[in-house]
Structure formats: structure tokens, C-alpha cells
Amino acid sequence: MDKSARRKPKKQKNYLKKRFFIFATLALILVVGSYFSERLCPYDPYEQNLSIAKASPSLAHPFGTDRYGRDMLSRVIVGSKTSIYSTLLLVVGITVIGTIVGIICGWNGKKLDTILMRISDIFLAFPGLVFALAVAAVMGGGVQNAVIALGAISWPKYARIARSQTLAQKESLYMRAAILSGCSTGKLILKHILPNITGPILVTAMLDIGTMMMELAGLSFLGLGAKPPVAEWGSMMSDTRNLLTTHPWVTFAPGIAIFLSVMVFNLLGDTVRDLLDPRNER
């Protein structure tokens, strides 16, 4: 398909593995870095120093300072904790919940399936961010609430995938053979269904990290996520946007941070997708 398909399958696989290794390393650096972010900042990200307010980028302050004289580089680094960590938590959460609901629906069928699927239909009928906006509005701001709001609208997608995959596996011959040979339900799900549906779910989740990160930042931008003075990339951009005309770097620094992190996770997601694509097997 892509340019990569022209290579020989074996070469292609190696190339993908190499690509995976690079992007996984970058993503890992981001995650680990955000965990230790407080220790990595050159300055205290919350310390105000009005005498150097709105300073242009310099050696001492590579991204300049904001209107309270806080070092932007330090704030961007600390912001990674809120942005990256919350996003990962969110994606893991919806993946687990969605998958469980999906497997239950697909496995049980009947009434429970109908009810849960109708409920997911209703959630899917809302345009993404609109519903999250409302949930966040009801619950009030805060990163935690923004994560819950986005989670509330995102799980049905995973439930759908897990359900259809479960149904497909359930109908397969090897599954019938396993049922006939008297495997217990728990064992069937854990040993046969789950390993077979992780592929598509994992790919969806990986590709969702970037989207979720941007939506979370969007909510914060609207004041529905992290509240100042907590450093978060979206709210930092919103916070400093009236400086755009005169001191654009203050606004762009967190923007570029979002951009780069989303890019790393998207690249990783694409690679995982290609890697799990059966067309690239052999």
C-alpha cells in the first residue's frame, strides 16, 4: 500500500520494527520526562518575578517569560505532567471500560447487549466535544473533571470495536470447537477472545492518544480543564493569548509542546497500526 509495501516483506518488517523502536523511545522519553518534570525545570515554574515579566527568549529563558515573569520553559516542562499524564490515564481508562462493556455485549447478546448498545448509540449521537463541554460545565472545571467528561463520550467507540470483534470470534469455528470441548466462559474470554481483539483495540487507543491530548487541551483552553495557576498547555495558551500581538513566543511555546507530543504519539500509533497490519506480515 504505502511506499513501504514496495519493499520486501522481511525488509519491511524490520523497517517497521526500527521505526517502532524510535518512536516508542521518544514517547517513553516524554512520559518519563513528564513524570520527573519538576526536577527537570531550570526555574520554579510558579515563582513570579515581575521585574523580568514578558522577557523575550534569551539564553537564561529560552522561551522567554510570561506576564508574571515566570519562566516559560519551566512552565512548559511542568505542563507536560498534566497534559501527558491525564491523557494517558484517560485513554487507558476508556480502553479498559469500553473493552469490558464490548466483550460483555458481544458475549452475552440478547437484552443486555441491546440495552448497552442503545446507550452507546445515544452517546455517539452527540458531537464529540459538545457533550464533553456540557459534562465539564456541569461538573465544574478541573483536569479530573475534564478527563471524566472526555471519557464519557469516548468509551462507546471502544465498546463497538470490542463487541464486533467478540461477535466475530464467537462465531468462528475454533471458538465453537473450544465451547464444545467444555472450556469455561472465563477461560474462553481470557484465553481466546481477549488476545484476538487486542490488536484493533490497541491501534485505536494508540491513535486516540493524540486526539485526546488535543481535546483535553481544548477543554483547558476554554477554562474547563486545568485552572490557573496549574501549568497545563491548553490553559497556558488561553491564559497568554492577549500577549499574542506583542509577545507571541509566550503563547507559541506551549502550542509547540502540544504539537510535538501529539506528533510523537501519532507517529507511534501509525507505526503500531502498520506493524499489526496482516498485510505486512510474513
Partner: protein, 259 residues
């Protein structure tokens, strides 16, 4: 070598690895040449190369394919496309999927005709209906109005043959035309191809793994193994006195059917 179509030491590579090695053969006007071999031996690739259907990953890396004093491999895409359909037709294993699913058969046949000459719609309909009637369709006008998926597998295959013969090409390439069909319909298609040769003097290159089909219609045959020619000669000679061990084994593997 002479003949209306002539392969000369043809090499073909897919993704850089050779799949056809130094294959040469030729076919006269009105000759039916059967190309046999197991799946993966490169037999479909061999005929697709003539009309540039190898796709992005495949390419002819050596040799020549002569058609009436022209080397088909030297033609640019436009020139080659002109020859396709009008002078060299092709039938696919699954003719149904060789038509666009969301347009009617008539639309696509008209399109084919218009590519090669100016024609009015009414004129086209008569011509196309006549051709379809030759292939056993009772109500050809209805077929023209149908979508491919509305036809049965056997009907699709016959429409495929009719589409390939629409412009009365001099050469017909047939890629496993019978493999996806029921035995009774297989026979029908074989009969129709013989009829084509009779009526139009068309040269037919037929690729199949079914030796029975070759026995039933081919004048000469070529056995391909791993992209190399194992055996090439008159069908009767090859079938009764196979020279190479591989051909012997291949023939021995066919269940004998009484006709």
C-alpha cells in the same frame, strides 16, 4: 520466432525478486495456447505483462513481447491502452469483479467502445446486444441495464467474455477463466472460446491449472514451473509424451475424468 504474438526471453520481477525467467513462446493467428502450472508458478503474470497490468510492484526486466512487429514493452501507456480492448482483450478469473460495481454493464461496455471509436448510443446497443446474444443471453438489452452484482457467477463470466470480444480483438488473454465456475458452466465457457476462434480467428492465450481445459481446447501448451519453462509443444505431444519429470508428475496428478 514468428506469430502474431511472440514472447522472447521475457524476465519479470516482483518487488525485485524474479518470478518469470527467460520465457519464450509464440502463437499464430487462430492458435489456442494453453499455459499450465501450479499456483504461484507465474502463469497469470506472464500474460498480464503483455498489456501492462503488472501493477506498481512488478516490472518486465528483460526480453521482448512482440505483437505485429511492435514490442509491447516499448509502447508508452497511452499507446498500450489503445491496443487493450481493441486488439488484445482479456478475460479474468472473476469477471464480475472486473466491472465497477456501481455502474451498469451497459454503461461500462459503452465506455469501452467509446474509448476506441466514435459510436452513437443506439448503434452501440445493437452491437453490444448482438455480441451478448452470441454468448447465449436471451435478453441482452436487460443485461445491459443490469448492475454486475445482479447477475449470477456464470452470467458474469459470459458478460466478461462478451466484453473482451466486443471490439473483436485479434488476441484474447484468458486468466483462469473457468476456475471459479461450476463444472457445467466451465464446459460452456470452453465451448464459447472455441466458437470465438472459429468465428473471428482470434488467437487465445489461456492460463489455467486445469489440464482438462487445455486438453479440450488448446493447440499447443506450455508448462511453467517457478517461472521457468518446463515444456512447450503441441498439446497432444506434450500430453502423450511429456519430456520433463515435472510435467509427468503434473499429468499424473490429474484425476482422470470420463467425458
Amino acid at each position: 520466432m514468428s506469430g502474431i504474438i511472440c514472447y522472447e526471453n521475457v524476465d519479470i520481477c516482483y518487488n525485485g525478486s524474479p518470478v518469470i525467467k527467460k520465457v519464450s513462446f509464440s502463437a499464430e493467428k487462430g492458435e489456442i495456447l494453453g499455459i499450465a502450472g501450479e499456483s504461484g508458478s507465474g502463469k497469470s503474470t506472464l500474460i498480464k505483462a503483455a498489456i501492462g497490468l503488472l501493477g506498481k510492484n512488478g516490472s518486465v526486466t528483460g526480453g521482448k513481447i512482440w505483437y505485429e512487429e511492435k514490442n509491447l514493452l516499448d509502447l508508452n501507456e497511452k499507446e498500450l491502452r489503445k491496443i487493450c480492448g481493441s486488439e488484445i482483450g482479456m478475460i479474468f478469473q472473476n469477471a464480475g469483479s472486473s466491472f465497477c460495481p456501481i455502474r451498469t454493464v451497459g454503461d461500462q461496455l459503452l465506455e469501452e467502445m467509446k474509448e476506441h471509436r466514435k459510436i452513437k448510443k443506439a448503434e452501440f446497443e445493437d452491437e453490444a446486444a448482438e455480441m451478448l446474444a452470441k454468448f447465449g443471453f436471451q435478453d441482452p438489452k436487460r443485461i445491459l441495464k443490469s448492475y454486475p452484482f445482479e447477475l449470477s457467477g456464470g452470467m458474469q463470466q459470459r458478460v466478461g467474455v462478451a466484453a473482451a470480444m466486443l471490439l473483436k480483438p485479434k488476441i484474447l488473454l484468458a486468466d483462469e477463466p473457468t476456475s471459479a465456475l461450476d463444472v457445467s458452466i466451465q464446459k460452456q465457457v470452453v465451448e464459447q472460446m472455441k466458437m470465438i476462434r472459429e468465428q473471428y480467428g482470434t488467437t487465445i492465450l489461456i492460463v489455467t491449472h486445469n489440464i482438462g481445459v487445455i486438453r479440450a481446447m488448446a493447440d499447443s501448451m506450455l508448462v511453467l514451473k517457478d517461472g521457468k519453462m518446463e515444456e512447450y509443444g503441441k498439446t497432444q505431444e506434450v500430453l502423450s509424451h511429456p519430456q520433463s519429470d515435472y510435467t509427468k508428475r503434473l499429468l499424473a496428478a490429474i484425476p482422470v475424468l470420463r467425458r
